[in-house]
Symmetry: C2
Subunit: 332 residues, 2 copies
């Protein structure tokens, strides 16, 4: 039982990349002591997430820098879902003792690059031996002065339900990767777009930021899938949500992949998961302002349903009740 990880130390590699935090940053002491030291006022949002080799990523599907970027993006998506400003990230890297040091260095560099992209300070990290490679990420975000975070719990009956972006691509991309070429997408560009949606998720930080003060009553990111995640909003808010299947925006190629695989295309779009878009509820009168704010943030809004009294998520197709796809009984 060898507990040491050999020569590779994530924090040493990162410490070489990460400069001293600027005076505007709340990070007073970053990598190198027993703990990172920060100083800030106001509200702080903290979320933890992890990706594990063989479960959430595979080395034959993705490069180390993309794997690292995905780990950070998935964690940051939770901050976007609070309309928080990203602040610091802390990473625990679990490393099989026989790992290729070059792979791990690229992973660490990818982490540092992704942190730069999202303007997050990598303030701490740890490397432990592990039979399976994993990255456990903690992210901390802030509310600008006098602002509140957007929670899951404020949806009211009568509110509309909206979603950013287009859905189902990440799940279809995963099916393509897992099929090893057996499923035929409509063409190489569509294939690449679907696979990239799975491998390179983008946290909707700009969209979350744009929704501050917009009248949004509940906000969540789509990690489990539109229907399950709206189920979380419904449960937190004490309401039911009616989701109209015909309104759900679906990525090009998702239907073709589903058809080729004998899968239910609706299931991919409403319960595929990992699209990391944002879903929200809001009073109908705020719709124009929210559409405008999301467009200005490079995103967009599609209204897909409404909040009603009751509990759980109900699916409709052109207004008629539709049973939830198999495996989603737990939503009600």
């Amino acid at each position: 039982m060898e507990r040491r990880v050999g020569e590779f130390e994530l924090i040493r590699r990162l410490a070489g990349r990460v400069g001293t935090a600027g005076s505007a940053s709340p990070v007073r002491v970053g990598i190198g002591d027993d703990a990172a030291v920060t100083s800030h006022r106001g509200l702080t949002a903290t979320s933890v997430d992890a990706i594990v080799e063989g479960i959430h990523f595979r080395r034959d599907w993705s490069s180390p820098d993309r794997i690292a970027a995905r780990a950070l993006a998935v964690a940051l998506s939770d901050l976007a879902a609070m309309a928080a400003e990203p602040g610091e990230a802390y990473v625990t890297l679990g490393v099989p003792p026989e790992s290729d040091p070059g792979f791990l260095e690229l992973l660490a560099d990818g982490l540092a690059d992704a942190a730069d992209t999202h303007e997050v300070v990598l303030a701490g990290g740890d490397t432990v031996a592990s039979p399976a490679l994993f990255l456990a990420v903690t992210v901390v975000g802030y509310a600008p002065e006098d602002e509140q975070f957007l929670m899951r719990s404020g949806a009211s009956a009568g509110d509309l339900v909206g979603v950013t972006g287009i859905l189902g691509g990440a799940a279809a991309g995963l099916m393509l990767l897992e099929s090893g070429g057996e499923i035929k997408p409509p063409g190489p560009a569509v294939r690449d777009a679907l696979i990239s949606r799975q491998l390179d998720p983008e946290p909707r930080i700009e969209a979350g930021r744009a929704l501050r003060g917009s009248g949004v009553t509940a906000l969540i990111d789509l990690s489990d899938g539109l229907a399950p995640d709206l189920g979380h909003v419904a449960a937190s808010s004490g309401v039911a949500i009616e989701l109209e299947a015909s309104l759900v925006p679906v990525q090009t190629g998702v239907a073709a992949v589903a058809a080729s695989a004998g899968a239910d295309p609706l299931r991919l779009a409403i319960a595929g998961g990992e699209d990391y878009e944002l879903a929200m509820t809001f009073p109908s009168g705020r719709r124009p302002a929210i559409e405008h704010a999301l467009e200005a943030a490079g995103s967009g809004l599609t209204v897909v349903g409404e909040v009603v009294p009751g509990a759980g998520v109900r699916l409709t197709l052109d207004g008629s009740p539709l049973p939830l796809p198999a495996g989603f009984d737990h939503l009600n």
Copy 2:
């Protein structure tokens, strides 16, 4: 590639255990939204740590509640090493899909119990599928108003070097566990004490708290071992540390275990690791006050060396230079 973990969700189990945080707590929203929300002023210390099955623990060595308590204790030790007040903890649990739900429930309950013991709020968590069971823990601590944390970087030539508690027990306990009964300790009570030192580490939070304002110039917890961890202090402070082997306090039974295993007893005591005591430097004039403060905190102080100009850790035995045990060349 099944990404879901079946029925067990750490956060659901913990949410059932953890009450709403009290009004004195900085936790405004704990488990249940996209991120936990805290509100606090002053300095914050954040540290991440993880323990992995087969590397840091084994189910045939320890019960789920002890494994969970160990994960939290190891993380909290980093806060003790900053003289921080423990605040919140966030846990990511990596779970093999075929795990026994009863085992996981006991693990979650053990985590909640340990959080109660150390007066830490479990403010968030995540459960992910993983081939290897792991617990990745993030802990956040606070500095009381107008207080500073104690860092590794303030040691000066002329300072004394001290350590709390007795050393080598955790490493000897690990040797006993790994030998499967082949190594014979002096007796069952000694055996149990050594093994407990390995399986049930205690973060020295009280001792760290007692050292605030005491004149300590550098503080660190002993995770890697006395000599390697003093090496971190030396490097951070830009000094050398002379460590006198004859002064190092060694737990009863460590020498016997080492003799039985043909190991170097000195190596267990100065480089065994995982004792999670605190090592510190201070001007000699502060020694009586520090001894008194540590005794009042239920701990104690042993002076084991001094800070000198230079770099690295130098070992002496009765004042004469002693080569570092094999494998510790990297300290200099």
